[in-house]
Symmetry: C2
Subunit: 193 residues, 2 copies
Amino acid sequence: MSDVKPFVLDFDLVSGFCTSGKVKPTQRRVSDMVAQFANETAARAMVEGGDPLLYEFYGLDLPEDDSGVLQFGTTILYPGKVGEEYFMTKGHFHTILDTSEIYYGLSGHGMMLMETPEGQVDWKEIGPGEALYVPGRWAHRSINTGTEPLVMFFVYRGDAGHDYGTIEEKGYRKLVVERDGKPAVIDNPKWKV
Amino acid sequence: MSDVKPFVLDFDLVSGFCTSGKVKPTQRRVSDMVAQFANETAARAMVEGGDPLLYEFYGLDLPEDDSGVLQFGTTILYPGKVGEEYFMTKGHFHTILDTSEIYYGLSGHGMMLMETPEGQVDWKEIGPGEALYVPGRWAHRSINTGTEPLVMFFVYRGDAGHDYGTIEEKGYRKLVVERDGKPAVIDNPKWKV
């Protein structure tokens, strides 16, 4: 068992920000993900033009070796595009692959793009009041297809771990881009077997 | 691994009700918990007077033998009192005692009353935007101390299980009652060692 006592943290139901003042979010900018966008030239130009913030998320200081612990927090993913590709998170598998994750949409609109190591792909729209079950084995990346920040409350097992490397190396099989003013899911030309 | 595919369910961010139309909540009335209220005479009179609904909660049809699965849903706990004791949930330990639970307050105001088998007791207020970490080993009961339904989104490990029996038999060490118009935590006169 872990010696963690009950505690409460405030996460604003609209903005997603933790207002308890104890926890700072991790921030990711375009410069952290240049190679993961289809249009790297557009990404590099955005980095030179001010390197906008893509998203922020909270990770709590909880034990990472205890399967009875649950990690929780919010992700705040800003609206915007790199070329025709919407702002997105890095996306990851869990290191303990068979562990799931729950997302609960608080504000904004977007999509969760998911795939398994065996090549199954799926995507779900997520908005306010929509709870998404990401089963174990499914890599998951959030994509903001709207005009407001996409804010989601998340929970996953404390020992699940994050495998970002597989996605960084191989990319996702699919991309979400704007076509005729609407989101479209297309094959990723940079995807490597 | 469990063969569950990604899926989305709508849980209204204020009322907590699942609007996807697929899932029905479990309902608990005063008649389901007469012996757990301090004032059983008042509880029996309420049962005869119409047996009001205390709370409703969702449980999804997910595998219960897989530590990689997460169960999620909402609890809707109505305002009211039995004698001077606020409406509350049965409360439970997890059968796999060392598994935690996350509650995220959506609307209304209340309290989570918690205790360990070793006799530690704790309670936390919970309201909109407040995320509560209930560590493994802590039995937990929600209490509505307000005038609106207390609505919370919850997540726990799919194999955690519910041990209601220990609480039904021994009771909680503490009660939450209204004193001078305000919530007060007092010793439970019916608690058995």
